[in-house]
């Protein structure tokens, strides 16, 4: 018999006037409002608590690898010229690690600038190291010849895993490693001559 019950509750029936007088309800505040308010308060409370958790619980997240201030990841292996290379042996020297590829236009544009920087400062104080990501050595050699950057130390990284080790997000990307083996700065995208001047000069000409 439940099915025959009217679709409204007993409280509403009494509310609409049991005496049968046609009467529009004066928009009463039904319990639903209070409940809605309660729900709202509950929701806001939950939001606040979570927000507080979000604000306070900062522990546990460290600066990601590759960001300034962190120790530089390992970088070793044979160079394009076939010589062994290890970044760890270059303590005391400033190292500019440039992640690049021959198929990348901006890399092509910035290589002469980097080669110039290497020429300007002696290898005893500055090493510019290129990391050729997912590229053939032939294409890289061509690129170096075309841009006059043959003097650079270039490490091939045909799989790109070394770039991932460094946390590189694309090409070109440049990491500046100071004499203590820490990352001093990082540029995502091409570097500018102004950046090189500003960042290299204080490290190299104290």
């Amino acid at each position: 018999m439940i099915a025959r019950l009217p679709p409204w509750g007993p409280d509403q029936i009494t509310d609409e006037g049991r005496d049968g007088v046609p009467r529009r309800r004066p928009l009463p505040r039904l319990p639903g409002i209070r409940r809605r308010r309660l729900l709202l308060a509950l929701g806001l409370g939950a939001l606040g608590v979570t927000g507080a958790v979000g604000m306070t619980g900062t522990g546990g997240t460290k600066a990601p690898v590759g960001s300034p201030g962190t120790p530089a990841p390992a970088l070793r292996g044979p160079t394009l010229a076939g010589e062994p290379f290890d970044l760890a042996e270059l303590r005391g020297r400033v190292v500019l690690v440039n992640v690049f590829a021959s198929w990348c236009g901006p890399c092509r544009d910035e290589l002469p600038m980097l080669a110039d920087a290497q020429r300007r400062w002696s290898e005893r104080v500055l090493r510019v190291v290129g990391l050729a990501v997912r590229d053939s050595s032939v294409a890289v050699r061509d690129l170096l010849d075309q841009t006059g950057a043959q003097d650079l130390t270039v490490l091939p990284d045909p799989t790109g895993t070394t770039a991932v080790d460094w946390g590189a997000r694309g090409v070109p990307e440049t990491f500046l490693v100071d004499g203590h083996g820490r990352i001093a700065d990082r540029v995502i995208g091409p570097v500018s001559a102004e950046w090189l001047d500003r960042r290299l000069t204080p490290l190299l000409d104290p």
Binding site: R4, P7, W8, Q12, L30, R35, M55
Partner: protein, 697 residues
């Protein structure tokens, strides 16, 4: 010159909408005065929007680069079609289209809506006018596309290359906008009901058809957008849970729930659901607009670098606060009336679906909005991607699918366990059989199996229910049958979409390889041979095409030509895939790279099964909405007749129209009180006496 006309049109539109707002407000406050002036002002708003749109279109077609929008988005190299569509290829122009549709809705509503309750209509028109006023102000002050440019450039860069690749550009944005903006009508009516102090459902009747029309457009727009991204973006997917895609899904979800809360004949009659859902739909439209146009989120579809953000956010917050205040102040009803809906009834299933749809909306909303908010508040990056939505929204959606089938099996009210059980046997058998067969034949994973099973169950249940209706149709009114048909078609469409999504996500196979000319690349179900690589210098850039022949082709050899186009103006390369659509599976080829000597190409080849089901299902769903549009607003045509006094008398409604303005609610009450009256869902012929109030009076 054209720019001047456009700017003046925007200014005049602003004035017209201010006038319309004031006039409609005056009508709402001083009832009884003629509405002619207010309607004229609303019409003037439409005229101004049309003139502004026309002026910009004219400037685009004439390559009038002295107009800022044309200088930024026009190009002499574009064909006529893409020149016309470039009106909505960037923010400022798309706002004009938005305005045109909004004022169009306003004028239509001003003309058609008066058949309903006058006061309701006047308040609704006031609210719609306020919204139009805001968008005119936005366009005029913050994003005027007609700003002059000095010096006048000789050519422009053209729109984003991705927008130049597909004919859907002409259809998808206008449809989506029509759907989006149409949701302003239920919102306006819901608030109008509160403002006018209407404790009845008359606003629901007024809003339902508008919502259906908007919903059908929105459905078609979303489906078209998915098809577009499938055909252009080249990764073989159609839905990425991208913030902007989500923004279009959110109002769709709440509008769907709203439509069903209108349907529920008893359970939701007095509940707060419809008001909440109608308001939420439009607020979510504003949220979506804010997300798309403020540059808050990075997305393929988002218009970037917008200064409108603060204005839109302000309007959004104002609207939200206003709505909440109004609902709390004047809301009349308990969201969950303690009425006795028997646990095993359609009303319960509908309520369950509403709760689930609302939960999905909450999930999608938090997943979309959280990353930018967290970034803004704490500076830490949080990313929410498909993995999250697939684990939260997708299971909920499968539950919705199952409840959809269950709802048509259950009687509208009342418990008839034996009959329900008897009806459920066949659909349950179909669902279980689908799960058993696909589960034993392949290993698609439990989620996909559940989706298949629920879709099979729902399709079978829907078909059975429709068949029952048609069998009983001889004695039923055709409108009712049409309404049932609309619902069934829409449900079948949704089930097909579910099958398509589940199937394509489980069974897609892809491979990619560098392919010398003459060699073949194969995946199960598709083999192609690289015939040639062509380089073409097109008007603005350079295009490389790979000609692939589909290897085992009976009859004439078929070719696929995926291409890679370089657009120098934007310095981007766009890869356009080639798709051969099949009934069972699509063959989908993308050109990734071409070797320098042009002797080989890197090709990605995929066989995407069941994708065409998604498009078919989307079209069916929108069609279902349109079919339902042609039927009665609430349950049957007769009732609407009584709600509209002054309708022409027809033989069918004669005894009814003799009582204009009859109390609907009381009749419904009496009906339910009538002992032994069969309910509609059981599809038995309605005895004439039961529905004739005159006899009882």
């Amino acid at each position: 010159m054209t720019g001047q006309v456009g700017t003046w049109a925007l200014g005049a539109g602003l004035i017209a909408t201010v006038a319309a707002t004031l006039l409609w407000l005056r009508l709402a406050l001083h009832p009884g005065t003629p509405a002619r002036a207010a309607r004229l002002a609303t019409g003037a708003g439409l005229l101004c929007a049309a003139v502004a749109c026309g002026a910009l279109e004219w400037a685009l077609l004439r390559h009038d680069f002295g107009v800022r929008f044309v200088a930024e988005n026009g190009s002499r190299r574009l064909g006529t079609y893409h020149t016309v569509t470039s009106l909505w290829s960037a923010l400022d122009g798309s706002l004009l289209l938005w305005l045109l549709i909004l004022t169009g809705y306003a004028s239509l509503l001003g003309r058609l809506g008066q058949r309903h309750d006058q006061r309701l209509h006047q308040w609704a028109m006031t609210l719609v006018s306020v919204v139009s006023l805001f968008f005119f102000a936005l366009s005029h002050f913050a994003a005027n596309p007609f700003d002059p440019v000095h010096p006048v450039p000789s050519d422009g860069p053209g729109p984003n290359p991705l927008l130049q690749e597909h004919p859907a550009m002409g259809l998808h944005p206008p449809l989506l906008y029509a759907g989006y903006i149409g949701l302003v009508v239920p919102f306006a009516y819901a608030l109008a009901g509160l403002l006018a102090g209407e404790p009845t459902r008359s606003w629901l009747r007024a809003a339902r058809r508008w919502t259906l029309a908007a919903w059908a457009c929105l459905t078609a727009g979303i489906a078209l957008g998915a098809w577009w991204s499938y055909a252009v973006l080249g990764w073989g997917g159609y839905w990425a849970w991208d913030p902007v895609e989500n923004a279009s899904l959110l109002p769709w979800l709440t509008a769907t729930a709203f439509l069903h809360s209108v349907l529920g004949r008893r359970a939701s009659a007095r509940s707060g659901w419809p008001v909440a859902l109608a308001c939420a739909s439009f607020l979510l439209v504003l949220v979506g607009t804010f997300l798309t146009r403020s540059g808050l989120v990075a997305s393929v579809h988002a218009f970037t670098e917008s200064t409108l953000g603060p204005m839109l956010l302000g309007f959004l917050l104002l609207t939200a606060i206003g709505t909440v205040v109004l609902v709390c102040w004047r809301g009349t009803s308990d969201p969950y009336p303690p009425e006795a809906t028997p646990p095993l009834s359609r009303a319960t299933a509908l309520l369950g679906n509403r709760i689930l749809l609302t939960t999905i909306t909450a999930v999608v909303l938090v997943g979309t909005v959280l990353p930018p908010v967290a970034q803004a508040l704490s500076g830490t990056g949080t990313a929410v991607g498909p993995a999250y939505f697939n684990r939260t929204a997708v299971p909920l959606a499968i539950a919705v699918l199952a409840l959809m089938g269950l709802a048509v099996l259950l009687p509208p009210s009342g418990t008839r366990p034996a009959e329900t059980a008897r009806r459920s046997v066949a659909p349950a058998a179909v669902g279980l059989a689908v799960v058993a067969v696909t589960g034993l034949a392949s290993r698609p994973g439990p989620m996909v199996l559940a989706a298949f099973g629920c879709a099979g169950f729902t399709l079978a249940a829907t078909a059975a229910a429709l068949a029952r209706r048609i069998r009983a149709g001889g004695t039923l009114r055709t409108a009712r049958l049409r309404s049932a048909l609309g619902g069934s078609v829409a449900h079948a469409g949704i089930a097909l979409v579910a099958v398509g999504i589940a199937g394509s996500s489980a069974y897609t196979v892809a491979t990619e390889r560098e392919l010398p000319i003459g060699q073949t690349l194969a995946v199960p179900g598709a083999t192609v041979r690289l015939a040639a690589v062509d380089r073409v210098r097109t008007g603005s850039g350079m295009t490389v095409r790979a000609r692939l022949t589909i290897a085992p082709s009976a009859g004439s050899p078929q070719t696929l030509t995926p291409e890679l186009t370089y657009h120098p103006a934007q310095d981007t390369t766009v890869s356009v895939p080639a798709v051969r659509t099949g009934l069972l599976r699509d063959t989908y080829a993308t050109l990734l790279a071409v070797s320098a000597d042009g002797r080989s190409a890197t090709i990605r080849l995929a066989a995407n099964p069941m994708v065409s089901l998604i498009w078919a299902g989307g079209a069916l769903t929108a069609l279902g909405g349109l079919l339902a549009l042609g039927t009665a607003p609430l349950t049957s045509r007769r009732r609407r007749r009584t709600a509209w006094p002054g309708r022409p008398l027809t033989s069918r409604g004669r005894h009814r129209t003799a009582w204009p303005g009859r109390p609907l609610t009381s009749r419904r009450r009496r009906r339910t009180a009538q002992p032994g009256r069969p309910t509609a869902g059981t599809a038995r012929p309605v005895p004439a006496s039961a529905s004739t109030p005159g006899a009882a009076e």
